[in-house]
């Protein structure tokens, strides 16, 4: 066990997973990830090439090229860096390269804000990357290890971004069990792509396809792999537990959802705080529960539908907004919950690092417990003051 920040954890994860090429560009609040990696390499503790690229766009381009050469890669970014990468995120999944990236969720400007907000990664949900949101530093470690394992399977071959809430995880020290490289090696074998750049294999990687050619078929294959990943992740959670002794429910975490009338659905660190609130309300006799989404891609629609079927009321907390109509998690949860005749309300919270305190979450649970169906979307915590702290 070590006392590590989320960012230090991500760096150690890249090390124990034996990433061989790291291409990254510094951005607050991701910087300590790459600083730690540089330190590990400088101390001879990590055997990797660190390409100090001149932009995040080039970071992803270099990772794509290195991974295509058959080498395990890692990168990390935040906010503007992630959105600058957007073009190449789609490239990475289209090229079926199981790159793993730490994303420190941070707000987008203007106005400048370096604090937690999930607009950056939510805006990448259509890129073909798997997305997992951590609620603790231990989960950052475990998710990165599992991301390589799942992504590199020949029947998946997809990249994964592992999210940390800015500062709340990235800069907060928590005890983390860091497995050794050998322990991880017995779970995660060396990268073995079914194809790679090699002078003995003269082929064009990613050439032009006409409308009658198999462009659509290749897109379908990505969809198939992403769908398959749903099952693979559930299985890998069991494998992971056997090897490392830590349990994950799969794509989601169920917290006292079984007999709950009102369930809230959310992801990231706010879900951790919400568990305290659930316990508090339960002790007052209120039947509330929490479904924490771990993987937003692939989307856990089955688990959500199951909870929706057994709930009288659902609230969805979004830490970002899709300007036009509701938060992204809400709209997807509602679509997954559809067969259930249950009202699904959207609570927009915590934008730009606005703190999500137990009081804020209690307020949301109390609102949901009234089971009112008059308002679909509500922004909670506006005009922030002492009441919310």
């Amino acid at each position: 066990m070590m006392l590590l920040t989320g960012n230090e954890t991500a760096a150690y994860a890249a090390k124990v997973c034996r990433a061989k090429v790291v291409a990254a560009y510094p951005i607050t609040p991701q910087t300590t990830v790459v600083e730690k990696i540089a330190e590990l390499i400088a101390n001879g503790e990590m055997d990797a090439k660190y390409i100090r690229v001149e932009s995040e766009h080039s970071a992803m381009a270099a990772c794509i090229a290195a991974e295509n050469s058959g080498v395990r890669t890692f990168t990390a970014t935040s906010a503007h860096g992630l959105t600058l990468m957007h073009e190449l995120l789609i490239w990475a999944s289209g090229a079926r390269l199981p790159i793993v990236m730490s994303v420190i969720n941070r707000a987008m400007a203007p106005p400048w804000s370096v604090w937690t907000d999930q607009q950056d990664s939510m805006a990448q949900r259509d890129t073909g990357w798997m997305q997992v949101y951590a609620e603790s530093n231990q989960e950052v470690m475990d998710s990165i290890i599992m991301a390589y394992k799942v992504g590199e399977r020949e029947d998946i071959l997809l990249p994964t971004m592992v999210m940390e809430d800015a500062f709340i995880l990235s800069h907060t020290s928590e005890p983390v069990d860091v497995p050794t490289e050998e322990e991880v090696a017995s779970y995660l074998p060396d990268l073995k792509l079914p194809y790679k750049l090699d002078p003995d294999f003269p082929a064009g990687f990613g050439s032009l396809i006409m409308p009658e050619g198999p462009y659509m078929e290749f897109r379908y294959k990505i969809a198939e792999a992403m769908d398959k990943a749903r099952k693979v992740i559930r299985e890998e959670c069991e494998e992971f537990e056997k090897k490392f002794g830590r349990h994950y429910d799969g794509l989601v975490e169920f917290y006292r959802t079984d007999d709950a009338d009102v369930n809230l659905i959310m992801l990231g660190t706010m879900a951790s705080t919400a568990k305290e609130v659930v316990d508090e309300l339960r002790s007052e006799g209120k039947k509330v529960g929490l479904l924490r989404i771990r993987y937003f891609r692939p989307f856990p629609y089955e688990e959500i539908r199951e909870v929706a079927m057994n709930s009288s009321y659902i609230g969805v907390c979004d830490r970002s907004y899709t300007f036009g109509y509701g938060g992204p998690i809400w709209s997807e949860v509602r679509s997954a919950a559809y067969p259930a005749k249950v009202f699904v309300k959207n609570y927009v919270v915590g934008l730009g690092g606005r703190d999500i305190t137990p009081k804020v979450l209690r307020k949301i649970y109390e609102d949901a417990l009234t089971m009112k169906e008059d308002k679909e979307i509500e922004w909670v915590g506006l005009l922030w003051d002492e009441r919310w702290r």
Partner: protein, 185 residues
């Protein structure tokens, strides 16, 4: 769960103090977390850092608004920052100052006011320079005594393992401050 807030200045090592305290408590089998003020730290500017210590896993991820303890690394901050802001009614404060605890006066009630001359102790042990002494390890020794939240042995162990330099000197400073700290109820 015990929540602690550190007041210092950018560059004084408040964040490290929070992390070392968490580490010490962790060594005693407690659940811990430690974090800086989520912001833009600039050398010299007043900063805060935080730690949580609990017998149960720590699930709360929000900020600390109502600490049980406040630790002030630089007495000059008393005039510049409302260090008691949010301190629980039964909370306690530890201040690095040349003054005795009796000489410290607050407008509101504080359960326990403790003081220690961590600056003098740090200089004596050769930590930092005369104009910029590093007091974070000494103050942790004093904190162990005045709070009882963590034992001095664990604090010393955490320092020996993690101090970037002068491990022995830092540990000695913590032990001396442990002996020197005084308080009033």
């Amino acid at each position: 769960m015990i929540e602690i807030r550190f007041h210092g200045r950018g560059g004084q090592g408040s964040v490290v103090a929070g992390k070392l305290l968490a580490l010490a408590a962790f060594k005693e089998g407690k659940y811990v977390s430690a974090f800086p003020y989520f912001g833009v730290e600039r050398r010299g500017a007043p900063v805060t850092a935080f730690a949580r210590i609990s017998d149960r896993p720590i699930r709360i991820k929000s900020q600390i608004y109502k600490p049980d303890y406040v630790v002030v690394l630089d007495a000059a901050l008393l005039k510049q920052v409302d260090v008691l802001h949010g301190l629980k009614d039964d909370g306690a404060i530890l201040i690095n100052t040349t003054k005795s605890p009796e000489e410290i006066k607050f407008k509101r009630k504080v359960r326990r006011i403790a003081t220690v001359n961590a600056t003098e102790i740090a200089i004596k042990h050769g930590l930092g320079s005369k104009t910029a002494p590093i007091v974070n390890t000494a103050i942790l020794g004093a904190f162990a005594k005045m709070s009882g939240v963590v034992g001095i042995n664990a604090v010393v162990e955490a320092i020996l393992e993690n101090a970037p330099a002068k491990k022995e000197e830092n540990a000695s400073a913590a032990k001396e401050a442990y002996e020197e700290v005084r308080w009033v109820e």
